[in-house]
């Protein structure tokens, strides 16, 4: 197949996807059901006097609405029960409902606010197609690898626009559901503040064809509305568009499909990973009531409570952070002071018992502080280090020894010993060889180890809960649980302090991630 044909085919497929997307917009994707009036008639059997009276009342109401231009539907439900005396009772419920299904075009027609997002989505799709077509003009007969300059930029732009259209499809649902429907229904039930005149009149136009007037808010009472799953078909349609546009850029449809799937997988992965962290961030700045709101009114806080941060700092979190800093810095220094000489000996010297020590280092990685907690707490009481930061420094340094030696040894082994050997011939002893020659060269590895031990100590939770009793000595991991008493959890404060505990380590970790892994595996594989 020549490049022209391939390009044209991919373009045609992209056009097809866009048309599909427009078709989905035209389908009745939105479902409103408003309960206008409910009449419960107790002790009523179908056909008796009470039933007739209730029926007349409801019919009159429906006729009344009908006269105003609001067509309704009346349903009746009969609930029969046998009471404790063995008599049969019956309850008849009449419901006057207004049900409507509307397509995307109805949103545009009635000026419903989320309609703008819909226009945006369609415009993005059209623009993407246009750019892709322009990108093929004049270069349509060129093999995709050789497409350069403006044509390539245009084709790339088309892909970006189609991804934006995909995002708009999701935003449309969010915007409609969150800002409009939930707000209207919560307003109608008296929970949320008014959604505003504009939204109400748009809803009136959409559901009651403008006949609701002043009563719209009343009429919208117990509205149930939702995007029906049909709308989600937009996602595959728009993904298809993106894939086709990638195919336009890269030549092969299969290749485009592969790339598209890969991006989809990466995006899904990132969204899942980031979700808890986003929730943590959002919830940290909610008000007390908002954080435990059973009506799920808002996905993001109504008012961002930035002062939550200063509040928790006043509740001792600043002190906890400082404690964590002291303890992690202390443990890191101690671990390196003991670890560097040991790693040096392991990497550069031959001696009896070297293998034994190596085995011990590997073994000690298996000792978890949790399993040894009883022993450690007893030891600490004996040493009078119980409930002190110094005790935690020692324990953290000791339990990170294995990893430190392991990582450092890996670094030292990867550096050629020739320089040190030369220095030794020049009269250096092994101490000066280490300090003057090896350490500067091993700096990246040492920094990695340093940060890793620091993060481990910072994140340590179990030993600290057992060893630390007094509030003034708590590290942050233990301190933040004061907001999480088992019965009453102050989520917003808990997450605000979690945020402060997490941000520094995540940033530090990003710096060393690359070095750490190669250190880990090289150290590990080489034993």
């Amino acid at each position: 197949m020549n490049p022209m044909q391939a390009n044209l085919r991919a373009l045609a497929a992209a056009l097809l996807c866009a048309v599909l997307s427009v078709v989905i917009v035209s389908l009745p994707v939105y479902h409103f059901e408003a309960n206008v009036y409910t009449k419960r008639s107790g002790n009523t059997f179908v056909g008796d006097e009470r039933y007739q009276a209730a029926r007349q009342e409801v019919d009159a109401l429906a006729a009344d609405y009908s006269a105003r231009g609001i067509e309704t539907e009346t349903t009746e439900e009969v609930i029969e029960r046998t009471n404790s005396k063995g008599e049969k009772t019956s309850l008849v419920v009449f419901r006057v409902n207004k049900e409507i299904r509307c397509s995307g075009w109805d949103f545009l027609r009635t000026g419903f606010p989320s309609g703008k997002v819909l226009i945006g989505m369609l415009a993005l799709e059209a623009a993407a197609l246009l750019l892709a077509a322009l990108g093929c003009l004049g270069s349509g007969n060129t093999l995709w690898r050789d497409v350069k300059g403006a044509s390539r930029a245009l084709r790339n732009g088309a892909i970006a626009l189609s991804v934006a259209a995909l995002a708009a499809a999701v935003v449309f649902i969010l915007y409609t559901n969150v800002i409009i429907n939930r707000q209207i229904s919560l307003y109608a039930t008296g929970i949320a503040p008014s959604p505003g005149e504009k939204v109400l009149s748009a809803a009136d136009a959409l559901i009651y064809q403008g006949a609701g007037g002043q009563d719209t808010a009343q009429l919208l009472k117990s509205t149930v509305s939702s995007v029906i799953p049909l709308w989600w078909l937009q996602i595959p349609a728009l993904l298809g568009l993106t894939v086709c546009l990638i195919a336009v850029r890269d030549g092969h449809v299969a290749h485009g499909l592969q790339r598209g799937l890969m991006y989809l997988a990466v995006i899904v992965m990132c969204v899942v990973i980031l979700y808890p962290f986003v929730i943590m961030f959002i919830s940290a700045f909610r008000t007390d009531a908002d954080a435990t709101d059973v009506n799920f009114q808002y996905m993001v806080p109504v008012t961002w409570m930035w002062e939550n941060l200063s509040y928790i700092l006043g509740r001792g979190v600043l002190k906890y952070l400082l404690n964590s800093l002291i303890l992690s810095a202390g443990a890191t220094c101690l671990a390196l002071l003991c670890g560097i000489p040991a790693a040096y000996a392991m990497a550069r010297m031959r001696f009896k018992g070297r293998k034994l020590f190596m085995g011990f280092v590997i073994m000690s990685q298996m000792f978890s502080p949790v399993v040894l907690l009883v022993g450690i707490s007893r030891l600490m009481i004996n040493l009078r280090l119980n409930d002190t930061l110094l005790g935690l420094v020692f324990v953290n340094a000791a339990f990170n020894q294995a990893f430190a030696i392991w990582l450092l040894r890996g670094t030292f082994v990867s550096i050629s010993p020739e320089m040190e050997q030369a220095a030794c011939i020049d009269g250096c002893n092994s101490v000066t060889a280490l300090i003057r020659v090896l350490l500067p060269m091993a700096a990246p590895g040492i920094v990695t180890t340093l940060i890793f031990v620091f993060i481990n100590s910072w994140n340590e939770y179990t030993i600290s809960t057992v060893l630390i009793n007094s509030d003034s000595n708590r590290p942050i991991t233990v301190g933040l649980t004061q907001f999480a008493a088992f019965s009453m959890i102050q989520w917003n404060y808990l997450f605000a302090s979690s945020l402060l505990a997490t941000i520094p380590v995540v940033i530090l970790f990003m710096f060393i991630e690359k070095h750490l892994v190669s250190g880990l595996t090289s150290g590990g594989v080489k034993g």
Binding site: R259, C338, G339, R348, A398, T502
Partner: protein, 296 residues
């Protein structure tokens, strides 16, 4: 020649001394204490009495919840390590491919690894809450569900969530270990395989898997140890409730020792856990030492 001149025979031992001292006092000595205590009578107030043989072990093993705790531990370790190894491997393959924004994706992958477990467990506890949880909130507002779902209906589901969260926080470690292995593979292997007409699956089976096996071994063994010892997730979300039905060995012995004040059986269980880990350690050492032997 990968060594430097040593003046005295005892010099290497001097270099090792600080490290040995530190680990001796704070790692080995507690092990001894735990061993001794496991054979002693300990009162509720913590006073150590006389040796009582295997009494503590018998009390611990015959406790009604012991069986379910051991089963939970097995399920916990196998499911978390197994599934996270599989998913981590797939994620590594994904992050090893070239695409726009790969650096950002890799940085995001670091998050669950770096953040404290207590914090992550608390966030998940909030997310899966029935009354006001974030998952219900998100799904309701996205229009996926129309009514709140009780995500924590029974303790079995609770335990599944805990395993899921365990997997979530374990994946990045596997991913980065495998990524390191993948990056050290020479591209020319793949080019040769492509010339020979191998498809994706063949390359995966005959090239990628054998070449990253060492990284996978390291990450799997280390993960077995970490996951076995993992404490904050279960402690934060259920505390083993109801009646130790969601406890693993580690959280169970913590509850025994520090909330029920039954340190005798707790130390006996510590020794049991310790022995289980020693078996893993032994296997691991055999693997690594054999590697070293091959290299030398």
């Amino acid at each position: 020649m990968n060594q430097i001149l040593v003046r005295h025979k005892w010099e290497p031992y001097l270099w090792l001394l600080p490290s040995v001292l530190l680990m001796g006092v704070f790692v080995v000595y507690p092990v001894c204490i735990v061993f001794k205590l496991s054979f002693s009578e300990i009162s509720r107030s913590g006073v150590v009495g006389s040796l009582n043989g295997l009494d503590n072990y018998i009390t611990a093993v015959t406790a009604p919840e012991f069986g379910s705790v051991m089963l939970n531990t097995l399920i916990w370790v196998v499911s978390v390590v197994g599934i996270s190894t599989l998913l981590g491997f797939v994620a590594a393959l994904l992050l090893n491919a070239e695409f726009f924004g790969r650096k950002v994706a890799r940085s995001i992958m670091v998050f669950p690894w770096a953040a404290t477990l207590v914090v992550q467990a608390s966030v998940w506890k909030y997310i899966i809450n029935y009354e006001y949880g974030a998952l219900n909130n998100t799904l309701l507002n996205l229009g996926v569900i129309s009514q709140s779902v009780n995500w924590r209906a029974t303790y079995v589901i609770d335990f599944i969530w805990e395993c899921g969260i365990g997997i979530f926080v374990t994946i990045p470690f596997v991913t980065f270990c495998v990524l390191a292995g993948l990056q050290s593979i020479d591209v020319s292997y793949y080019e040769a395989a492509t010339v020979d007409g191998a498809d994706f699956w063949k390359k995966l089976k005959h090239l990628t898997l054998p070449l990253v096996r060492p990284s996978l071994t390291v990450s799997t063994v280390l993960n077995i140890i970490y996951v076995f010892n993992s404490f904050p997730i279960i402690y934060t979300i259920t505390r083993g409730a109801p009646a130790h039905k969601t406890d693993t060995l580690v959280t169970y012995l913590y509850m025994l020792a520090f909330s029920e004040q039954r340190k005798g059986p707790a130390t006996a269980l510590s020794v049991v856990g310790f022995l289980i880990l020693c078996v893993c350690a032994g296997i691991y050492m055999m693997v690594t030492m054999r590697k070293e032997g091959e290299e030398a």
